[in-house]
């Protein structure tokens, strides 16, 4: 680990001013950043500790909830309002990492965690365009069981590892930011980028931008939500595929649907084509399957992950069937 300077901020404006325009790295729970610094994948010479900033979860003016960025994953999953009104979010968080890590990890840090692609981590012996742009990608012809089937490029096939972010994408969450130029917000679904020819950039944030919180708008009337994660072992593993869904059915027809997929792309994948195909149509298993076929028509599997196409389709159909009450 390289030597670094350390400052502990007590509020967001102070944190942004401590970070400066050059953009120190913000330190939340450290569960990913400290690990990456130890592996010398991250080499920050200045850390601004934001783990002591607001961890409040409060009612929003519009009837939703606002989760401050330093709220720990455990605290969010445990919050009674989240459990009652946004079960998809509690479920997604509880499906991620281990109890110890959820106790440490912050909401802001969870969103900014980096891919667990083994070639990205292997600073000593592997090529990675995300780590060293232009160097090449050893995942393309390597062990790519965990990698992307949607939205990847010939530069990078990494996936975003967060479960929480997949639920937030389906909830139409809004990410609140403070940067050197002031405050702004961005939809969660627009926070992360597809790799294109700049896989080194995970998000649309600029240096010095700090996530201050996440807003959850109220769910549509009568909507139910759920999260399902498929992984290689039953606990403490990253997703092969995960599905977050919000569904409201009226008179047998889909009134509102929001669907996001995890483990399949460089970002939480909002399945907009499937949603459009479903809205207003019958809430049947056949319609769910057809909608997923539409969404996955553009999937491009790698040597080791073609199974994900069928797995994503079947998992999404099962989640929607459960939410629609078509099966238990």
């Amino acid at each position: 680990m390289n030597p670094f300077g350390y400052d502990r901020a007590t509020n967001a404006p102070e944190a942004v001013s401590m970070a400066g325009a050059a953009g120190a790295r913000y330190l939340g729970g450290g569960t990913n950043l400290v690990d990456l610094m130890r592996e010398t994948v991250e080499r920050s010479d200045r850390l601004v500790d934001v783990s002591g900033l607001s961890a409040n979860i409060r009612e929003d003016e519009d009837g939703g909830l606002f989760i401050a960025a330093a709220a720990r994953n455990t605290a969010v999953a445990e919050d009674q309002r989240v459990r009652t009104r946004y079960p998809v979010l509690s479920r997604a968080i509880l499906a991620g990492a281990s109890a110890q890590i959820r106790n440490m990890a912050t909401t802001g840090g969870n969103l900014l965690q980096r891919t667990r692609c083994a070639y990205f981590y292997d600073n000593e012996g592997s090529r990675c365009n995300k780590r060293n742009p232009g160097e090449g990608c050893d995942a393309l012809g390597g062990f790519n069981r965990y990698h992307a089937i949607l939205g990847a490029s010939d530069q990078c096939v990494a996936t975003h590892p967060s479960d929480m972010a997949v639920a937030l994408a389906a909830l139409d969450a809004v990410v609140h930011l403070r940067g050197p130029a002031g405050e702004r917000s961005v939809k969660l679904a627009d926070l992360h980028r597809l790799p294109g020819d700049r896989p080194d950039l995970d998000t649309v944030l600029s240096p010095g931008d700090l996530i201050t919180g996440v807003g959850l708008p109220p769910l549509p009337d009568g909507a139910r939500s759920a999260y399902r994660k498929v992984r290689d072992r039953s606990s403490y593993a990253f997703a092969l595929v995960s599905v977050a869904a919000v569904l409201s059915v009226k008179d047998g027809r889909v009134d509102e649907v929001r669907l996001a997929l995890g483990g399949v792309a460089h970002k939480p994948w909002r399945a907009g084509k499937a949603e459009a195909a479903l809205r207003g149509g019958p809430a049947t298993s056949e319609a769910f399957a057809r909608a997923m076929d539409t969404e996955l028509a553009e999937a491009r599997p790698l040597s080791g992950n073609a199974f994900k196409i069928d797995l994503a389709r079947r998992t999404a159909v099962a989640v929607l069937e459960n939410l629609a009450g078509n099966r238990t």
Binding site: V34, E78, T84, S98
Partner: protein, 168 residues
């Protein structure tokens, strides 16, 4: 840097890069806490901070100044074992013993989480005030602690016995 460790005030000077784990072991001689993977995958380094279990290998010591840290040395000692430690002996909850301090600290944190009603991935009803103390719940909640000897069944037996004792 100042900490409260096992109820005693402690002052330490160390490089900013020092993890809480290395502070405990290398600077303070508290070698009960173990370094397994050093990347948050195995749980051998689990300690309690203000009663909550964390991986001390992923924690920079500097972030935990002023906090109250409990290690295995603060849970019991050879002359006065905690009930959970007795249960590990009674139920063959270890073979080589390397993961044991982390397993025990983790279990202490887990019992507190169960008591206050924190749901887990396998809790059927998120709305339930208190999750059932089932084997499946304990197994899921302890998944952040690996045992390479394969003593997991004994570990769960020990925790189950101690937890049931606790719940009575």
């Amino acid at each position: 840097m100042q900490f409260t460790i096992n109820d005693r005030p402690v002052e330490a000077a160390c490089d900013l890069r020092t993890s809480l784990l290395d502070l405990l072991r290398d600077h303070l001689g508290l070698t009960g806490t173990k370094k397994g993977c050093n990347q948050g995958a195995c749980g051998a380094c689990t300690v309690l901070v203000d009663g909550e279990r964390i991986n001390s290998c992923l924690a920079l010591a500097v972030q935990y100044q002023g906090r109250s840290i409990t290690t295995i040395e603060g849970i019991g000692d050879i002359g006065a074992l905690a009930p959970l430690q007795h249960a590990f002996i009674d139920h063959d909850g270890f073979q080589c013993g390397y993961c044991t301090p982390g397993q025990i600290c983790s279990a202490v944190g887990m019992v507190a989480e169960l008591r206050r009603g924190l749901p887990s991935h396998v809790t059927p009803d998120l709305g339930a005030a208190s999750p059932a103390w089932t084997r499946e719940e304990l197994q899921e909640r302890m998944s952040g602690n690996l045992c390479r000897c394969g003593a997991h069944n004994g570990i769960l037996d020990a925790i189950e016995a101690a937890c049931l004792e606790d719940a009575r």
